[in-house]
Symmetry: C2
Subunit: 297 residues, 2 copies
């Protein structure tokens, strides 16, 4: 098969229709250029030029081959440039997982930030619970995950990405008689919607610890795994719930939000998690730009 160098020789001769000028453009002398053209013609099995000692003309076959040769050379250049950009993290794909709750708050800003840092990187965004994100990071399906703290994160690189407070979600009817900020004790004996320990272990433990600490025992009327299910139940008047404050962005008509009094809320943590051995340069570039690439746990 012919080589790219022969294609460059061919294009130069076809453009100049003059071996000497083409050779000097290619920084070589005329004899090897003639040789390369002959080799190319022998390889294809077709004469590409009609040449006398006084004139050089393209044959019809040469006229057909010329744009193909230029296309191949153009593709080779662009393949190289594109690959280099991927290597520098300026192009490529970044696959990101996030929990449903984190999507309400930080996702739009994160996407804006990524678009600003790496406008040519394709983003693949998948909502997954923490456990599934861990598996996906392991198998290489995800480059980066935004998830709740978990004991299984020890083999990964973890940075705290955001913290927020919990707020009380109340049925609108009960909110009219409630003070601007609620002490935890206000939940005592209230109808209360709790997190499921199966699908929302982190929030379950967080709320359980908060209630235990204040020795408060609400009347648990339901256990659910997803925050929007929880708010739907509040909206229907089944009871109150504790949700991260960014969940207030979900506009349920019959739900009112009240902060906890005295800064009683524990911080709800969201971690950025990735594999240290991940070789996606787009990930490295994002971590560097976001200041997350220092060594640590």
């Amino acid at each position: 098969m012919f080589g790219l160098h022969q294609l460059r020789c061919f294009v130069a001769v076809a453009d100049h229709l003059h071996f000497g000028q083409a050779a000097s453009q290619l920084n070589m002398t005329q004899p090897p250029l003639s040789r390369q053209i002959q080799l190319l013609e022998r390889e294809i099995g077709v004469p590409l030029f009609d040449r006398t000692s006084r004139s050089v003309r393209l044959t019809p076959a040469g006229r057909v081959f010329l744009p193909e040769a230029k296309r191949i050379l153009r593709l080779s250049e662009s393949a190289m440039k594109w690959t280099r950009r991927v290597w520098r993290g300026e192009a490529g794909t970044l696959r990101i997982g996030f929990t449903a709750a984190s999507g309400y708050g930080m996702l739009p800003g994160l996407i804006r930030q990524l678009r600003g840092i790496m406008p040519n990187v394709d983003l693949v965004l998948r909502e997954m619970v923490t456990r599934l994100q861990i598996e996906a990071l392991d198998s290489g399906v995800l480059d980066l995950g935004f998830m709740r703290p978990s004991v299984d994160l020890r083999r990964f690189a973890v940075r705290e990405h955001a913290t927020e407070a919990m707020v009380v979600a109340l049925p609108a009817g009960e909110a009219t008689t409630a003070p601007p900020a609620l002490p935890v004790s206000d939940l005592q004996d209230r109808p209360f919607i709790m997190y499921s320990p199966d699908n929302a272990l982190y929030f379950h433990d967080l709320v359980t610890a908060l209630l235990d600490e204040h020795q408060v025992q609400p009347k648990v009327v339901e256990q659910v795994g997803q925050i929007h299910s929880m708010l739907a139940l509040v909206d229907a008047g089944f009871g109150a719930a504790l949700v991260p404050e960014t969940a207030a962005r979900l506009h349920f008509p019959a739900v009112a939000f009240r902060p906890l009094a005295d800064g009683a809320s524990p911080p709800v943590r969201l971690n950025a998690v990735w594999r240290d051995e991940n070789d996606n340069p787009a990930l490295a570039r994002f971590l560097a730009q976001a200041g997350l690439d220092q060594v640590g746990t």
Copy 2:
């Protein structure tokens, strides 16, 4: 710049993820294959494989480069095959000129014939008068022309492609009283539409010679260069005209056609004309298939 051989090496390794197997597929040994991959990586400036002594994996940059490399190789193959087909006359472009009058009769059949012989050859068909066709053949704009005899054809290869008879075109009103076949003498003193010596020299000379031979002098009411203009005038009742019989395919409602009696019509000749030095293989292929490629004037 990298070479196509390096791309083939890269694709083989990427497909097998194993240097030894890739090398045997490429009919080479493992050491030079390792070298080629290293050279390619150095050329691009990007590692394409993550390799330990136990495993070979593509880097993200390599994953991007792989489809590009395959595309370049595919394009190179197809460019070579396509160029070979053009060389054999099985593909490419054939530019054909024809006079307006010849288009009425032989063009559809010619196109069918060409499609049968060379289904992958693009046909460019241009209606041009004989003089313009000669110039176009000279400058290489046309490969083949269908034109009337002319003294300027000596430097070209010429074959008689078709002959036909002249017929009389009569206004429909006059046709009812005319016999089935008209002697030339019938034109004596008739209103008659003549060919212009500027734009239709061949027909002008042909008709003039015919009339002179029979010592007939019609009343020339108009001189025009195009046959459809001529029939339009007959249709409008201005007079009679002599036209090639295939012109009867132009359906003018008030025009009737009558043959000349006694085979008095001179043959109207149509030549196929081309440059002997023309190197378009599609032309050579057509000439060979049509049996026109024997030597001669």
